[in-house]
Symmetry: C2
Subunit: 353 residues, 2 copies
Amino acid sequence: MGRRVTLQTIADHVGVSRMTVSNAFSKPDQLSPSLRRRILAAADDLGYVGPDPAARALARGTTGAVGIVLTSSLRFAFTDLVATSFFGAIAERLAPTGLALTLLTSADSGDVIPARDVALDGALIYSCDPTSAAVDHLTRRRLPLVYVDQEPLATVSTINVADRTGARAAARHLLDLGHRRIGLLMSGMHPPHGLIDPADVTIDGYAARQRLLGWCDALSEAGVTPLVARQPGADPEQPRAAARLLLDRPDRPTAVLCFSDATAHGVLRAAVDLGIDVPRDLSVVGFDDNPLAAQLRPALTTVHQDIEAKGEAAAAALIAAIADARAGVAHVPRHHVLPAELVIRDSAAPPPG
Amino acid sequence: MGRRVTLQTIADHVGVSRMTVSNAFSKPDQLSPSLRRRILAAADDLGYVGPDPAARALARGTTGAVGIVLTSSLRFAFTDLVATSFFGAIAERLAPTGLALTLLTSADSGDVIPARDVALDGALIYSCDPTSAAVDHLTRRRLPLVYVDQEPLATVSTINVADRTGARAAARHLLDLGHRRIGLLMSGMHPPHGLIDPADVTIDGYAARQRLLGWCDALSEAGVTPLVARQPGADPEQPRAAARLLLDRPDRPTAVLCFSDATAHGVLRAAVDLGIDVPRDLSVVGFDDNPLAAQLRPALTTVHQDIEAKGEAAAAALIAAIADARAGVAHVPRHHVLPAELVIRDSAAPPPG
DNA sequence: CTCGGTTTCTGTACCGGTACAGTAGACGCT
DNA sequence: AGCGTCTACTGTACCGGTACAGAAACCGAG
């Protein structure tokens, strides 16, 4: 088995310089069509697929891939329909530019740290701990970055949703319906869990905090003090258990505001368990307008965010940042805030009695 | 703005050779701890993050990333809970090895073709057209590959599910319940759509064909000729429309076998639309045991496949193939077939009357 | 026939690392 | 002292491309 086929191999075969072969692949207008055809034919004969991506990346300084950093638990990110739709939208927007999307964990596992050791042209930071090692590495690599669902930072472009405004609208909706005993259901991986004080919720992500703030904006305006529960994870089973903390008590709330639609789903199921009718005995409002929300029984009143638009905006912002970096121009960060709008369906009604 | 910081910059600062600096990062046991500390400190001062991934990839011949080729429509792949769970399982298994996962489309968009132009150590081919350009490029690059849900090929490792066996069990279950008028509901992007002849379903993916064959195994054994409908896409709206083709007719089937749980979901909704009670008037059996299946009303009788195990097996097979390639050893392809088992819930019952 | 402008092809110098085969000195053993 | 073995560090030769600045050939206009 001979040596590997490189540009030089082909050059020798055809009797031209290595540079000409390179041009045949990368700059077709730099040589005559007939010679190009000969070169490509020879390349094909020799089983040459195209310029080696790694070598090209080194010489050109671009790799054709961008990263996306996810929360430490990939498993979680991939079971959440909201997150996966977002990834899909990004990938779709990226496809025509020829950029591939590389998934990075913020968990640093052993000696190889993808965020430091994988060649990339730029990266999206999606709902991450901004102090994590992965984010730090990417920043220090001076890669073009875009933050999504994170605290806005002056130096990078950010994409956010009007979480606080949307949450305020959700809370006001319940207040307008006449509710005064209102529960809030959060989710987050770290303690504290169970029934907590709203002021304790400082460790969650930026979006979660904004939503909590939005709810509290409206509630405190109306002089209502909520009952707050918090549970780990977000699959429907966890909230179902946590929802019991709110519902299985004499002075139970007449309405629950949920951090997400997945959480709300858990509340609906807990209500079924406890024989509580939604929306007659209990109102439930979600967040995200997950595709499932409209299909739940009752159809979920929730706060809509346009995931497609979010993915599109994130991809566009990253592409722009990369383009500026390639051109050697200083990139002017932009801060997008996408709207969040209350969608009234069937899961919220006036309180009983 | 000065030149970029490289190993040489640091070497000059500390007064050692470039090679020693390289070792400080990549082979810590090759130099004294005290010198290593000095070098690392100097690197930190200079704002050096670590060896440039692109250069390292060229010199070492490994990139730290593996690809996964998806069906042409990324958007579709990312709204399917079965697919996303699979990706999650793969990513999770890959994380401890330090390999990142790069998403590749099989659609070749313009002049940049990720499958040809992105540096990778290996790739998974997931439920793709094996004749697509992307697969061809990866093959010709001689990358370690693993095929998932594809026609087994002697030269590469493959991961498959016992689709045919599982489908046969599903069909037999309906026959055992006494059904004789049975509909089949397939999905696939390409025509023909609508009511079709079973023999026409040759363009779908390998898994789809296996499932159809499995159903037909049991049905033809029992002398039953099914009514087959086929619709594009797989979001719940499409099957809902296609299901009407089967249900909205005088001699409508008493049972429907569905290509997937998503498809089955559409049938359940079509049944609601038409006032048909499941399972009293109509039995429905799905495939995959999507997490949603158990939560549908009625809970879906379906064929379970272990997505986690599939992701785990795929990742393990790829890692093994890459390890052999690195070692220069010929890789012996292995062909895994994971079990598929009928899970009986509430959506199938004896036919009416 | 000459001259400027293309077109087409070539040579050289990188890109930023790593592999591998040294070399020099320290140490242990006889 | 002589010799083998370590440890710690260095030098050189790649890895497989691309950028950029020429050089040779060609071509129409003056």
